[in-house]
């Protein structure tokens, strides 16, 4: 774990969890910033300055840029939270870069979820394959259906990879807070796991995004966190994340 030493877009100190491997690094951080501040508006690329990393550059990977949005219509409050993958890369051993899309300017508080593996190329040997396990809800009264073949977890010693694809919720639980239990998920995983999905409302320029939490194998997504698009079992909701295990000590 380490803290950033600065940035060029007006965010405060950023806490990173890390899993350093011989030729790549997995980083997790949740970054908040004001998308209307002068520093953010003036930055062409968002840069986070950090103590020396184990690699001096990486290929492009993806992070989720999120902001809250809503609309009140005829007495009903609609959650229109949005998110999209933006590119991120390690420019040098002290600088993590994040792509800035002009659309995000003046959208209030932004949250950037960094849950990414930063690899390098030309490392002298090829990739190697790993073993995956299914991610299915193992609670006895399961009412959420996750795709059997595409919801997977790859467990490594210091990090996990998660691809979660939610298919549907039984109609009887459509207005409940949602909860699932993943037995194959290590108990030391503690993270917000952005759930991106098709936005059915008009005028949206990005995918919808909800923020379920996973802690001690329990995945929870409150009703208030979900948009109508997600509520109606549409939009192929999914999570794609590399999550660091442990590394909580200050």
């Amino acid at each position: 774990m380490f803290y950033s030493t600065g940035n060029n877009f007006g965010a405060g100190a950023i806490k990173f969890k890390e899993a350093r491997e011989s030729n790549y690094i997995v980083l997790n951080a949740t970054v908040t910033c004001d998308s209307g501040c002068a520093a953010f508006l003036g930055a062409e690329v968002l840069e986070i300055y950090v103590p020396e990393l184990n690699i001096s550059r990486s290929t492009e990977t993806g992070v989720v840029m999120f902001f809250e949005d809503s609309i009140d219509s005829y007495g009903t409050h609609y959650n229109l939270n949005k998110g999209v993958f933006v590119k991120s890369w390690i420019k040098d051993a002290h600088t993590i870069c994040i792509e800035k899309l002009p659309f995000f300017e003046n959208k209030g508080e932004l949250t950037i979820f960094i849950q990414s593996l930063y690899p390098q190329l030309g490392q002298g040997s090829n990739t190697f394959k790993v073993t995956k396990q299914p991610l299915v809800d193992s609670s006895p009264d399961s009412y959420l259906r996750f795709n059997d073949s595409d919801s997977i977890i790859v467990v490594r010693e210091n990090w996990v990879f998660i691809h979660l694809l939610l298919e549907r919720c039984d109609y009887s639980h459509i207005d409940d807070d949602w909860e699932a239990v993943f037995e194959n998920m290590p108990a030391d995983i503690d993270a917000v796991l952005p759930l991106l999905h098709t936005a059915s409302w008009s005028g949206s320029w990005f995918t919808g995004c909800a923020r379920p939490e996973v802690r001690n194998q329990h995945w929870t997504l409150p009703r208030t966190e979900r948009s109508n698009a997600l509520q109606n079992n549409t939009g192929a909701p999914f999570s794609f994340a590399f999550i660091v295990r442990g590394d909580d000590e200050e």
Binding site: E21, S22, N23, Y24, S56, R57, T59, E60, T61, G62, V64, G83, V84, F85, K87, D92, L101, F103, S116, L117, Y118, P119, Q120, L121, G122, Q123, G124, S125, N126, T127, F128, K129, V130, T131, K132, N147, D150, I152, V154, R156, F161, H163, L165, L196, H197, T198, A199, S204, W205, F206, T207, G235, A236, P237, F238, S239, F240
Partner: protein, 352 residues
Amino acid sequence: MIVIPSIAFGGFSGSAKDVTARHVNGRSILSVRSWPTGPKTNAQVVRRSSMSKITKSYKTLTAEQMQAWENLAKYTSGRSVLGQRAELSGINLFVRLNANRVMAGEAIIADAPETLVNVPNAAYNKVFVTPELVIFLGIEHQPAPNKLVVKMSGSQSPGISNGWSKTVIISPDVEDDWGEADVTQLYLKTIGVEPTPGQKIFIETYWLDTATGFTGQVYKSSTIAITQEQAIAEGYAPRKRVNMDNIDLERSQVESFDLDFSTAAPVVNHSGVLTSKPAEGYSYIYAEAPLERELLGISFCIGRGVTEDGKLMSQSVYCHLSNINGEAHLSYSHRGGTWSRPSEVFGPGIIF
């Protein structure tokens, strides 16, 4: 060029036949006019022409600009001559830096750089020279505006110990691709003949800061050309990737594509823009050669698609790597998020 003590020829200057005497910073220098030897190459003709153009352009500078070059030159030492440190004049520095810039395809700069630039030294792990391949590996990457200048000789007798005077510029602006620089075609184009196994190749490399024209120290090395089989036996392994150079462009549904396996990690690196027919939820890519068995499998990656009305939508993408009828088939299928084409896929994808 002859450098002699100033006592003997102090104050003497001028030319007589092929001998020129001049007095520079307290030293008298006698030089014999030299003539280029050997046949002129196109590159030499171009370089001599550009040097002349650069020299003439100095006269068009303002007095302030000339003074700035003079000021910078005071802090820039030229190459030592017979143990005495030669100092550069403003025009010398102007010509040197601009000649470097022009060589790298940049325009002549009129304003002197504000400060001296400390250009890093070139370093790499290995160079393989075979009749089919000239490649540098493990280059210590330097970011732009640095570019690597590579000078190499043709095949020389292995008994020659000092043959760097025979090197010529293979390329003035090599940019390494993750530590690799394959200069095979540039070598063949410049030298004209393939390296001969068993013969020695002399090499000079240095970084050039193309913004200012300053260069780093020249790194001199030499290697014995070997056969391709020997290179593989010595550990050369071509970087494994499927890209626009080795896929069937007629059948593959991509605008751009580069799948790189050289991560030495449990991920492959996806990069490309996928296309397909509107009703199809997948894109196929057909590689000309099959993939090694250990590279076949399934990978997930992320994507961004643009809808018909310009919306930017996030996706997750399922990638199946297989061999069918002697060629590699890569299929990218939509899984999570909004389906749209074209879609850009990028980043590391776990592989299992």
